[in-house]
C-alpha cells in the first residue's frame, strides 16, 4: 500500500517539483550558517549594491546587508514558524474535532459554536491583534497563527469522525469494551489521517504567508531575519532597488507554491478516485 502511494505521488509531476522546491528550501535553511556564517543583520558591503556586484549574489540592501544571507536565514524563520504553528493548529484542531465528532450532541454543538467564533473573525486581523497584544516574538507569532488556523481542521476532523463513528469496526471496538480514548486514537484517527495530512501541508503554506504578512507590517520577531521583513523594509525603495524586494518575495512565492503542489499531490495520491479522473 505504501509503495502504491509513493508511485501515485511520484506520477504527479507537479508534486515532485513541489517536493524538490521545498527540499531545496529546507537544505538552504539548514545550511544557512555554513553558507553565510556572518549574521544577516551585519553590514557586508556598500549599501544599494546590485546583484552580482562586489561578489554579492543578490546584492545588498539600504544598510549594506547581504540579501542572499537574509534570504537563507529567513528560510529558517519561515519554515520554523510554518511547521511549529501548523503542528500546534493540528493538535488543537484534531483534538476538538475528534471530541466533537465522536461524542456528538451538546458537546458537539458547544465545540462547533466555539469553532465558528474563530472562523467568523478574519484570520489576519486576529493574528495582528494577538501579536500586537503579546509583543512580537517567535513564540507569540506561532501561537497567533496556530490560533487562527485550527478551526477549519477541527471541522474537517469532526466530519470524518461523524462518518467513521457509525462504522461497524468502531461498533465492534465498543462491544469489545475498548475505552473512548483507545477508540478515538487507535481506531478512528488512523483512518482519517490522509485528509489531515493534506490540509496540514497546505496549512504550512498559509502559515508562511501569514508570518510574511506580519513581518511586512513590522510585527515580526525583531531578532529574526525573515522574508516578510525584508520585503516590508525594502518596499519604500522598490523603484530604485527592485532586487531588495524581489529575492525575498520570490522565495516566499516558491516556497508557498512548492507546499501547495505537495498538498495537491498528497491529495491525489490519497484519493485514488480523483487520481484516476486526472489521468483520463
Amino acid at each position: 500500500m505504501n509503495r502504491d502511494f509513493l508511485h501515485a505521488f511520484a506520477r504527479n509531476k507537479g508534486a515532485v517539483l513541489g517536493l524538490a522546491i521545498v527540499g531545496a528550501v529546507i537544505l538552504v535553511a539548514l545550511a544557512a550558517d555554513l553558507l553565510f556564517p556572518a549574521s544577516p543583520w551585519e553590514m557586508a558591503g556598500a549599501p544599494f549594491g546590485r546583484p552580482l556586484a562586489d561578489g554579492m549574489l543578490m546584492g545588498t540592501d539600504m544598510l549594506g546587508r547581504d540579501i542572499a544571507s537574509g534570504v537563507a536565514h529567513g528560510a529558517r524563520v519561515s519554515l520554523l514558524i510554518g511547521l511549529a504553528s501548523t503542528l500546534a493548529a493540528v493538535a488543537i484542531g484534531v483534538l476538538l474535532g475528534a471530541v466533537a465528532g465522536y461524542y456528538g450532541g451538546r458537546l458537539d454543538d458547544l465545540l462547533m459554536r466555539f469553532t465558528e467564533l474563530f472562523q467568523t473573525i478574519p484570520n489576519f486581523v486576529l493574528v495582528v491583534v494577538i501579536v500586537a497584544i503579546f509583543t512580537p516574538s517567535l513564540v507569540s507569532i506561532v501561537v497567533a497563527i496556530a490560533l487562527v488556523s485550527w478551526a477549519p481542521l477541527a471541522r474537517l476532523v469532526r466530519g470524518e469522525f461523524l462518518s467513521l463513528r457509525s462504522r461497524e469496526f468502531v461498533q465492534a471496538a465498543i462491544t469489545c469494551g475498548q475505552g473512548d480514548a483507545t477508540i478515538i486514537f487507535r481506531q478512528i484517527l488512523p483512518n482519517c489521517m490522509s485528509p489531515i495530512i493534506v490540509s496540514a501541508s497546505l496549512m504550512v503554506a498559509t502559515a508562511i504567508l501569514l508570518e510574511s504578512s506580519l513581518s511586512f507590517l513590522g510585527l515580526g520577531d525583531p531578532n529574526a531575519m525573515s522574508w516578510g521583513f525584508m520585503v516590508g523594509s525594502a518596499r519604500t525603495v522598490l523603484r530604485q532597488a527592485w532586487w531588495m524586494c524581489f529575492f525575498p518575495g520570490f522565495a516566499i512565492l516558491l516556497t508557498v507554491l512548492g507546499l501547495n503542489l505537495i498538498g495537491e499531490g498528497l491529495n491525489d495520491a490519497f484519493n485514488p478516485r480523483l487520481r484516476r479522473k486526472r489521468k483520463a
Binding site: 462504522r167 462491544t175 475498548q178 481506531q187
Partner: protein, 553 residues
Amino acid sequence: MSETPEIAEPAAPLLEIRGLTVALPEGGDRAFAVEKIDYVLNPDEILCVVGESGSGKSVTAHAIMGLLPKPDLRIAAGGILFKGRNVVTMAEAEQRRLRGHRIAMIFQEPMTALNPLMRIGAQIEEALEIHTDLGKAARAARVVEMLAAVGLPNPEEIRKSYPFRLSGGQRQRVMIAMALALKPDILIADEPTTALDVTTQKQILDLIKAIQRERRMAVLFITHDFGVVAEIADRVAVMRHGRIVELGAAEQVLNRPSHPYTRALIGALPHGRPADKPAFAPAAAPILAARDVHKVYRVAGTRVGGRRELVVSDHVNLDIHPGETVGLVGESGSGKSTLARTIVGLVKPDGGRIDFAGADLVALDREGFRPYRRHVQMVFQDPYASLNPRHTVGDIVAQGPVAYGTPRAEARARAAELLRLVGLEDSAVARYPHEFSGGQRQRISIARALAMEPKLLIADEPVSALDASVQAQVLKLLAEIKERLGLAMLFITHDLRIAAEICDTVGVMKLGKLVEIGPAAEVFGSPRHPYTRALLDAIPGQGWAPPQDHGGS
C-alpha cells in the same frame, strides 16, 4: 387474454454472443473478465445467467449495453450479434439507437437508478422523446399506460411525483416501466431483486415473468440466487471465473446439473428445511431474557415542525437459553438489527429490561455494563466495514482481551490460536484485512468475537454479504463453534432458508413487533401469523427441490 401455446419451432436467435472476450486492465488477478463466452438469447424466453461475485455475469450484459467502463475494460475479441448485426463494430450513433429502444436494461439498486430531481413521468418520457416521434399528449398517455402495466396504483399521480415518495419495490417497477416504454425486444435485468425484501422480490419476479409472457420479449436475467432461477428461468447459463461452465434448459440444469461447479453451487444452497435434530429443550434458565423492550426513533419530518415516529422495537419479549440458537427473521426495517444492537448495548432502548446473568443491562451505565459486555459479543454484517483497515488481523483479534487487561503477548498468542480455529493460516496474524476475501474477513470477525470468550454470540446477518458457497462454509463454522463452546446464539437474517436450517427457535419480526416465535419446525411447518405465511410464500424457487444426492459438501 388467451395465450397460444409455445411456438413450435425455435425462431432465429435475437441476440447471439459469439466468443466474447473482455480484457481486464493489466496487473489484475486474471487477464479477462469474461473469456470466449458463447450464448444465444431467443425471442420469448427468459435466460438466467447465474454465478458468484466476480464470475463475469454482469460484464457480458454491460458489454451488450456499451456500459463497460472505458478504458479499463475493453472487448478484446468476439462479437455481440443483435438480429444478425454485430453491435461491437457498429457506429456509436447506431448503437445508441439500439440501446433503450430495442434493448432495455434494469439495474440492481432502484434507490439510485432514478434521478431524484426529476418527476417519474419526465424520466420515462425522456426515452420516448429521444427514440419516437410521439406528441406530448401521446407520450403522457404511454407513460400512464406503462405505469399501469407494471402494477403501480394511481399511475396518473405517480407520473407527477418525485422518486423519494416511492418505496424500493415501487421504484423498481418504475424502472421496469421505463425499460418497457419503447417496447424493446430484449430486457436485460441485472440482479433486479437483490436489493429488495423477499415479499417485494416475489412481486417483481412475478411482474417480470408476466410481462415477458404477455409481450413475448426475450429477457436476460442476471442473478446469484438459484431460488430466483428456479422461479423464472427457461434456460440457465452458469458462469464461473469468466467462463460459462454449463448452459441448458432450466429444468435440466437445476435438477440434473452436469458440471461439478453447478452441483457444488446447488449443494451449497440453504435447503430451507428445519434440521432433523430433536427440538431444543432448554436445560437451564434463559441466559438472556428481554422483557417489553421498546425503542422509537423520532425522525424529522419533511414538513416544518412535523416529526415522524418510527417504532423499531415494539414491546419485544425474547428468551435465549444456554446452547440455543435463536433466529430473528424479518424484512428490512423490521427492527431485528436494532434489537441485536440493544442487547450488546450499542442502542439504548426507551424502556423495558434485558436480564443477563442476573443484571438488567438496560439500567446499567457504560461503566456498569463493562463486566457484562465481554460475555455478549457480536459478529457484524459487512465484512468490509467491520474490520479496521489500519490494524493487523492479529491486533484486531487481540484488542478486546487487551482492553480487559490481558497482557498483550498472551492476547496475541490466543489470537493466533483463534485464527487457526476459524480456519485461517498462521500468517494471517501479521496481515491487514484488505488482503482477505469477504468470507475470510467474516472468519476474522468471528475470531474477534470468540476472543472475548462470550456466553452469547449475536450474529447480525453474518453471511448476507457473501456468495452462496462461502455462505455455507461460514454457517458451518458458526454451527461447529457454537457446538464446541456451548454458546447461545442470536442469529439475525432476512433469509428464511438459512434461519430454517440452523436455528432452534425462530422469531418473526415485522415493524418492530415480534409477531411469531416458536421452535423452527413449528414456525416453518405450521405458521400461525399471516405475515409469517406471506414471508414463507415469497421464498423464491419453492416449487423446486434441489437434488440432494450430489450435494457438494
